[in-house]
């Protein structure tokens, strides 16, 4: 074969390798997740078997083996993560402190941060995570599915006159979902407006009198993790002047269902069923 | 019946540490009794036991033939007053307030001091020359001024027995001599029994009717000053040498420590 042919073959092979390298480099096989929403996303993308480390509060879908615990709610266990030799660590701005991220990066790990504060950001992050994991088409598909289900909800419940609701995330002090949060966005799909949207903080800590003044039609009580689960010991328990209490429209649900991420449509469907009774 | 306050064979121990072993001492009406001895002999302890503030581990203290432990606290406080060696007062009380506290054994359960009480307190303060600082914060007074206020407090208690623990330790010579005069006056004119722990041999000689010398928790000598303050006894008890002299004009005995 002539020299030209040899060079051409060499060049082609080189180019093929060069172009496939990014594909190989973009497909991390060992993933550590620092937020339950991210873990949910990775499982929903069908890439759950690549997870080697998750947080204490993450869950795996039924039957799957739960990966090692590598982080607390805000604190990554740096040494353990390094020991797991991940190709990538995925965290969020809200949960992981600057200092711990820097520590992981200094240890030579590749760390990517995505926001999950609003619904819009959550959907964007799902796509970006799937891109970083080398499967961008899966992310697009998942996003499409989620948006589809949300739109269906909106069609079904969106044309009613919206009811005033508050979403309670915490007790002592009472913490509500305020404007600019994913719950604030999400409940709009099932015919609710957030009574706390006028406050200027994303998670206002209020006292009983503010709740009385909001006078919501519906209270979505996501404080179940705070024991006791008993309704009797909620601050609004016997306050009949609050419409939601008077009419018995206080709906307690598992906050884990309402994580920003692929679980949202499921959670919202269940919540809507509880509210509207169908 | 001469004896006002007497201890019968009292012993006292701090924790496991015995300080007094079987001491019997009596204080008579109208006398000034000096309690002396080397450091650590148990003088303050004896005074505290006599006042009823610290109950003895064995033996009895009798106030006019009644055992102290049978007398209720408030009643005892109307009969016996003690001026302790140190008083540290960490609060901004005025001197008058401190002296008025001496009237508390006489106040009704939830009462306030009456005009009479204030009058008695002011008189007590006048007797020790501290009435000028009646309204001043006690913490702003010097050691000697504070000591006089506490003495006034004890006087305001109107006691029958007045016990003082080294009262002259912060006082200058004028106030020391005033205090000595006061003690003799209280004893002779008011009939009080005054017991006083002191170190100064000359002061004791001129002020006291009787002296008790303690050594290592036991009575080493007892009697009139001229009988007790002798070179032999002082050397035996203190291990120090003195020489006795007599002032030719007044006939008063004085002693000088001999050290080379």
């Amino acid at each position: 074969m002539s020299t030209i042919m040899k060079s051409f073959r060499l060049a082609t092979i080189t180019l093929l390798i060069a172009f496939s390298l990014p594909v190989w480099a973009e497909a991390p096989r060992r993933i550590v997740s620092l937020k339950p929403s991210i873990t949910d996303t990775v499982y929903a993308l069908g890439l759950g078997e690549r997870l080697v480390g998750v947080t204490k509060y993450c869950d795996a879908p039924d039957g799957a083996k739960k990966p090692e615990i590598a982080a607390d709610y805000t604190r990554p266990y740096t040494e353990r993560i390094i020991g797991l030799r991940p190709d990538i660590v995925i965290g969020s701005e809200e949960n992981s402190s600057r200092r711990s991220i820097d520590a992981l990066r200094r240890a030579g790990l590749s760390v990517e941060i995505f926001p999950f504060t609003t619904l819009g950001e959550t959907l964007d992050s799902i796509e970006k995570i799937s891109a970083v994991l080398g499967a961008p088409e899966r992310g697009k598909k998942l996003r499409g599915e989620i948006e589809g289900r949300l739109d269906a909800l909106k069609k079904r419940y969106g044309d009613k006159k919206p009811a005033n609701a508050v979403v309670v995330w915490g007790l002592k002090p009472t913490i509500l979902a305020g404007p600019g949060t994913f719950m604030d966005d999400a409940i709009a799909y099932i015919g609710l407006t957030n009574a706390a949207r006028g406050t200027s903080v994303r998670y206002p800590k209020i006292g009983l009198e503010q709740l009385i003044a909001f006078d919501p039609d519906i209270i979505v009580d996501l404080s179940m993790d705070i024991k006791p689960g008993s309704a009797q010991e909620r601050p609004w328990s016997n306050v009949d002047s609050i419409k939601a209490v008077r009419e018995g429209r206080v709906i307690a649900m598992d906050p884990g269902m309402f994580r920003a991420g692929p679980r949202m449509p499921n959670a919202l469907e269940k919540l809507a069923a509880r509210i509207y009774g169908n | 019946m001469d004896t006002l306050l007497k201890t019968k064979d009292v012993a006292f121990a701090y924790g496991g540490n015995p300080v007094l072993h079987g001491v019997s001492v009596s204080l008579r009406w109208g006398e000034v009794l000096g309690i002396m001895g080397p450091n650590g002999a148990g003088k303050s302890t004896l005074l505290n036991v006599m006042s009823g503030v610290m109950p003895p581990s064995s033996g009895e203290v009798l106030l006019r033939d009644l055992s102290l432990k049978d007398i209720p606290h408030r009643e005892r406080a109307r009969s016996i007053a003690i001026v302790p060696q140190e008083t540290h007062i960490p609060f901004p009380f005025t001197s008058l307030e401190i002296v008025l506290m001496g009237r508390s054994p006489y106040l009704p359960r939830f009462g306030f001091e009456s005009k009479e009480d204030v009058g008695i307190a002011m008189e007590a303060m006048r007797a020790v020359d501290c009435n000028e600082f009646a309204g001043r914060d006690i913490r702003s007074l010097s050691g000697g001024e504070r000591r006089r206020v506490i003495i006034a407090r004890a006087l305001a208690q109107n006691p029958k027995a007045l016990l003082l623990d080294e009262p002259t330790s912060f006082l200058d010579i004028r106030h020391t001599s005033d205090l000595a005069k006061l003690m003799r006056g209280l004893a002779k004119k008011c009939g009080m029994g005054v017991a006083c722990v002191m170190h100064d041999l000359n002061l004791a000689t001129s002020t006291c009717d009787r002296i008790v010398l303690l050594k290592e928790g036991r009575v080493a000598a007892e009697g009139a000053p001229s009988e007790v303050i002798t070179p032999e006894i002082i050397e035996r008890v203190y291990g120090a040498r003195i020489t006795i002299g007599r002032d030719p004009d007044s006939g008063r005995q004085y002693c000088i420590p001999m050290h080379e």
Binding site: K172, S200, E209, I226 | H73, E97, M122
Partner: protein, 336 residues
Amino acid sequence: MEIEMRSHLTSRRWIWINAGLLAFLIASIAFALFLGSEEASLRAALSGDERAYAIIFVSRLPRILLAALVGMALASAGGAFQALLRNQLADPFILGVSGGAALGAVAAVGAGLGFTLQSIAAFGGAIVSMLAIFNIGNARRRLSPTTLLLTGVIFNAFCFALILFVNSIVTMEEAYQILFLLMGNIEPMGMGTIAVLALCVLGGFAMLCACSWRMNLLAMGDADAASMGVNVARLRAVVFIAASLMVGAAVAASGLIGFVGLAVPHIMRLLTGADHRLLVPASGLAGAAFLVLADAAARTLLMHTGYATELPVGVITAMVGAPLFMILLRRQQKTI
């Protein structure tokens, strides 16, 4: 010869000052009732406006009563402990009872118990610590200041170490609750709980006021007090128990609210003198009013700003109390 007005306490002064403070307390309660981030008028509340009624009587009134009781407990107990320890720097948390109470509450949080049970556990913790400290400190039957102080400090340190331990093994929500508890907060409670608290606090307060006649003597020293007719061992025990029960109840109801027990008696001492017969009741009343006003501020201050959150009341008590205290102290130092 002139005697200064403040030279000693008379019954007239006692009545006037306490009556004045009581009036101030009532005025503070009324003021706090109508101060809030939400619009509510009494007329509306009483003429059938359910929302206004709920805001004033269901949300604010119990909080205000709680603040008054806790403030009274902490301030009067603080004054009593200062006399007991013969130290103006003592605060009601120094003797270790609060550590036990906090530990009780935290343990209840960790065990997943409900809010009422947490308060009961806190009070139980207070009682257990009180008995333990009393027994340890009662060597030679005297509850001496140094022993009490050392025992209390060590006990507190131990309790807080255990609290930190529990804090590190519980869930995040529970850890947040623990923080809330330790910071001290006034929250609306059922009137039944308030009634029980009132029983403890008012009972203890009455006891301390009764003991205040002898507290002056106690503050002189054990020997001095005994020589003036005080049964020292019994008085120390009664004051310790009454004050500890009040502090235990206060911590069980509202966590650890700092500064009230230290600064209020100190400030009152600068204003009304050191005589405990006046200081103890005056501190109690002033402490109640102070905490009522501080809580009103805590719940309204940030509400209309960009933060829209209720502050923990301990922030207000420190931020207001500390400068007030410094001003009074400077003024007093100039006169000595």
